[in-house]
């Protein structure tokens, strides 16, 4: 419990630091967000009026203070969006008629509440991230294990060579190859997009998830192969074999389970990064996720969207790391004992 509380405390500090740096960078970079809204050819008088409307006429320190004051606050449940003080809020936790609100303000560019934009985009990015990590793990585990079972063989060399190719190929190249093959050639899957129904969403998800999956699988292939090579030579594996355990049981139950801790660590980091948005893949496949939104916000100097994207991404990283930490204890009880010893 103490460990969990400490991790949560650090998570808040991490999020605060990252957002403060983003806020500062957004202020220090050249360019005027109001000008980006008004357009390059807008007259200065019109730009000034838009600057006032966006609240950019106030000093940065005032805006920074207001941002944090508004970010998490107490309010009513349900939210009355006609009330200007809560027009851009969303509920995080509700207790009776009271609720904890989160409020990132309005997007400068789109004029929409940022919580609505992020809450629409985040599930899509989560779906893509989870699907991509699943593909990475399934491909990486299968190929890596197959290679480890015949070290030095032609199969091993072929699989390791293929993994080198996968890790060297940029995602946009993998994306184009997959689009050409599965969308244009075989016509099995949509070229890009998001779709309108759940079935269409699923079909549209396949190619971007495969793109990220193939790219990441190469790394897992090598990681799992190396782990399995070491494990398969250990005494207790030899003992299991000597006792007549079938090969699949030796590989999966005895060896692979013990290789999971480093794999889980890498997968947790990967998932955290993917939840921040896989910008290139989302762009190539027109997958309307958080990555595409945050890049556009950075280019357009859309401060509220940028800060919200950064918070979402940093919380995703923190949450996945926390989940991985908690999963360790399931996989290897010695870790709990070590933590308990360290905390004493």
């Amino acid at each position: 419990m103490t460990y969990l509380a400490r991790r949560l405390g650090w998570s808040i500090i991490t999020a605060w630091t990252v957002v403060s740096i983003t806020f500062a960078l957004n202020e220090l970079l050249p360019g005027d967000p109001a000008r980006m809204v008004a357009g390059l050819q807008a007259r200065p008088a019109d730009v000034a009026r838009i600057r006032d409307r966006l609240g950019l006429d106030k000093p940065p320190i005032v805006r920074y203070a207001r941002f944090w004051q508004r970010l998490v606050h107490l309010g009513r449940r349900p939210i009355d969006r006609s009330d200007p003080a809560h027009a851009t809020c969303a509920i995080v936790v509700a207790v009776g008629p009271r609720a904890l609100h989160v409020d990132f303000g309005k997007s400068f560019q789109m004029g929409l509440p940022v919580v609505d934009l992020v809450s629409t985009r985040l599930p899509r990015t989560v779906a893509l991230g989870l699907a991509a990590v699943a593909v990475q793990l399934v491909l990486g585990a299968s190929i890596g294990t197959a290679a480890a079972l015949r070290p030095g063989s032609a199969v091993d060399r072929l699989l390791v060579g293929a993994s080198l190719l996968g890790v060297s190929a940029p995602t946009f190249l993998i994306a184009i190859v997959l689009q050409t093959l599965f969308a244009r050639g075989l016509r099995w899957l949509p070229f890009d997009g998001f779709g309108a129904t759940l079935g269409e969403h699923a079909r549209c998800l396949v190619l971007p998830a495969l793109t990220l999956g193939i790219y990441g699988a190469a790394y897992y292939t090598r990681l799992i192969r190396d782990e399995m090579l070491v494990l398969m030579r250990l005494d207790w594996i030899r003992t299991a074999r000597a006792k007549g355990a079938p090969v699949w049981r030796v590989v999966i139950v005895h060896a692979f389970r013990n290789a999971l801790v480093p794999i889980l660590t890498a997968a947790g980091l990967d998932l955290g990064a993917l939840l921040g948005g896989a910008v290139v893949t989302e762009t190539v496949f027109r997958w309307p996720g958080l990555g595409e939104l945050s890049v556009r916000a950075a280019l357009d100097r859309d401060g509220p969207v940028l800060c919200a994207s950064v918070i979402a991404a940093s919380l995703a990283v923190v949450a996945t790391n926390l989940a991985v930490d908690l999963a360790y204890s399931r996989l290897d009880p010695r870790i709990i004992a070590r933590r308990a010893r360290d905390s004493r």
């Binding site: 009026r49 838009i50 027109r286 595409e292």
Partner: protein, 560 residues
């Protein structure tokens, strides 16, 4: 609005790989003969590599938003398909008080998308909503000449005194002084009437509703926009299409693929190699076209910074640029431009003596400036390198390199400095910061004043406009102001001709090239011709493919 588009136009072209060496796909024929009458039905599918930001005509806009806005909102006046200013929602108009009053008599029985009838009160309410202080309208100050604008914009009054309702169908605009640009500016989308649901003041969450040929159906930001036919449109029988659909953020390769499959009906974002392929293919010749030249690009010289404070150096630059070399960078998109006004803008005057490439004259101007340069020895010229800021957007990087090579031949050494777009804008507008930089401008409203006023008048020097050459000439100021007031078209043209001639001679910019978009349509898309002013006019377009409705439904999922 247009500025973003002017930048995007050239960036789209240079930002993608040139594509593989494939033949252009086969056109998909229509069901009927060429002379078949138009018929109703079908969805027009379009795509863009960009996204739109807003559909409210009073709000911030961009080049692409203008397409749906034009179909959603009709104006009191508009430009027809030959470029003539005509009445649209207005039945007719009268000019009174020596050009200070414009009285519009509305058509009766115009039904808006919400079913209500358009009346004069709606016009006044829409204008006040668009020009109110709290509205993020980037074009509001264009209408500062309407009587009472300043008081209204400062929130001193609740209503705009210069717009008066004189009957159920009569609305008058009163101006502080005669303004020949008023009618062209009224064609802009920003003041077009909106439904009563829009209210008196701008709201971000309003669902677009106007009196245009199409009405709003669905918008998924970043992905898709769908408009459907407004069956009660005031022009009987129009539009023919059931709807128009845009897909956004679509890569150029994906667009080409979908176009070849018939899932996109018009291809407008092409790689250079695709453009060449389609343009060279006889099957696509009559199906390809370009939109009007409404953009000017040139090299802007800061007239307050050495060496460009010397008019002879500026003349040397204008004479040293071989514009044909620029054009050859993207021959399907770029045109040689020797004067300020591009040929696609109403008021373009072919008789203006523009800037011309003349290497010998350029060397002579350098000599007159006091910096003689000897091409044989490479000696002389301006002694120190001149920093040329640029941002990494497609063609601009190539034109900058070309400029560097051409100016080196007259003794001006250019040092290219790459930076972000925002940094570039900031630097360009800061006094004494950028001696030489690229200038770009796109028509905001169809009139020469859309170029002269913001770019070359003293009042537009960066604190108040976009005169990044910091150019000031009393005669030009006088001519432009006079042309603003002058209602006689002939006299007005003479005034602009003289102003343009002065600019070409004194060269605050070396005008270099214009830019237009290339497009190809499938043969079954009929009567979709480029409009001289607007990026998309689909009121009379129709789909000659009976199976289109079912086909579109079948493929809709894939297109998204």
């Amino acid at each position: 609005m247009a500025g973003v588009c002017a930048v995007c136009a050239v960036s789209a072209l240079g930002s993608l790989p040139l594509g593989c060496n494939q033949a252009a796909p086969a056109p998909i024929p229509g069901d009927s003969n060429e002379d078949a009458p138009a018929r109703r039905g079908g969805i027009l599918h379009l795509a863009s590599f960009q996204d739109i930001r807003n559909l409210d005509p009073a709000g911030p806009s961009d080049g692409l938003s203008a397409e749906p806005q034009h179909l959603l909102f009709a104006g009191l006046v508009d430009f027809d398909d030959r470029g003539y200013l005509v009445a649209d929602l207005a039945d007719h108009w009268e000019i009174a008080d020596g050009g200070r009053t414009y009285r519009f008599v509305l058509r009766q029985g115009v039904t808006m998308h919400d079913g209500s009838e358009l009346v004069a009160d709606d016009v006044k309410r829409s204008v006040e909503r668009a020009l109110h202080r709290t509205t993020p309208n980037p074009n509001a100050s264009y209408f500062a000449g309407i009587t009472g604008y300043r008081a209204f914009a400062s929130d001193l009054t609740d209503h705009l005194a210069g717009v008066s309702v004189e009957g159920r169908y009569i609305v008058s605009f009163h101006l502080d002084e005669p303004d020949a640009t008023f009618l062209p500016m009224m064609t802009m989308h920003t003041l077009r009437p909106v439904c009563r649901s829009a209210g008196d003041r701008y709201r971000d969450d309003w669902t677009p509703c106007g009196a245009g040929p199409f009405k709003f159906a669905e918008w998924q930001p970043g992905t898709l926009l769908r408009l459907v036919r407004h069956d009660a449109y005031f022009r009987p029988g129009l539009p023919f299409l059931d709807g128009v659909e845009w897909s956004f953020n679509m890569q150029l390769v994906a667009q080409r693929f979908r176009f070849s499959e018939g899932e996109l009906d018009v291809l407008r974002d092409l790689t250079q190699s695709d453009q060449r392929r389609f343009a060279a293919d006889a099957r696509w010749k009559r199906l390809a076209g370009v939109d009007a030249d409404k953009r000017v690009y040139g090299e802007s010289m800061n007239t307050r910074m050495a060496p460009f404070d010397n008019v002879e150096v500026r003349r040397a630059v204008a004479a040293a640029i071989d514009r044909e070399h620029y054009r050859l960078l993207a021959p399907g998109y770029m045109t040689v431009l020797t004067q300020l006004i591009p040929p696609g803008v109403p008021g373009y005057d072919a008789n203006v003596a523009g800037q011309r490439y003349d290497y010998a004259a350029a060397l002579e101007h350098m000599r007159k400036a006091g910096y003689p340069y000897d091409p044989a020895t490479g000696q002389g010229g301006w002694p120190t390198p001149i920093v040329y800021p640029l941002y990494d957007r497609g063609l601009l990087v190539f034109t900058a390199q070309l400029l560097q090579e051409q100016l080196a031949r007259i003794g001006l050494r250019i040092e290219l400095r790459l930076m972000s777009w925002q940094a570039f804008l900031t630097l360009q507008e800061r006094p004494g910061a950028a001696a030489l930089s690229q200038g770009a401008w796109e028509m905001d409203y169809p009139d020469p004043s859309s170029f002269f006023d913001p770019l070359f008048t003293t009042g537009a020097i960066p604190e108040a406009g976009h005169n990044v050459a910091f150019y000031s000439n009393g005669r030009v100021d006088h001519l432009v102001a006079e042309a603003h007031r002058e209602l006689d078209p002939e006299r007005r043209r003479d005034l602009y001709r003289e102003a343009d001639t002065i600019l070409c001679d004194e060269a605050p910019w070396a005008f270099a090239y214009g830019y237009h978009r290339f497009y190809v349509r499938q043969p079954y898309v009929r009567d979709l011709t480029p409009h001289p002013v607007w990026p998309l006019e689909a009121t009379r377009a129709w789909i000659d493919r009976v199976s289109d409705a079912g086909f579109a439904r079948l493929l809709r999922g894939a297109i998204r």
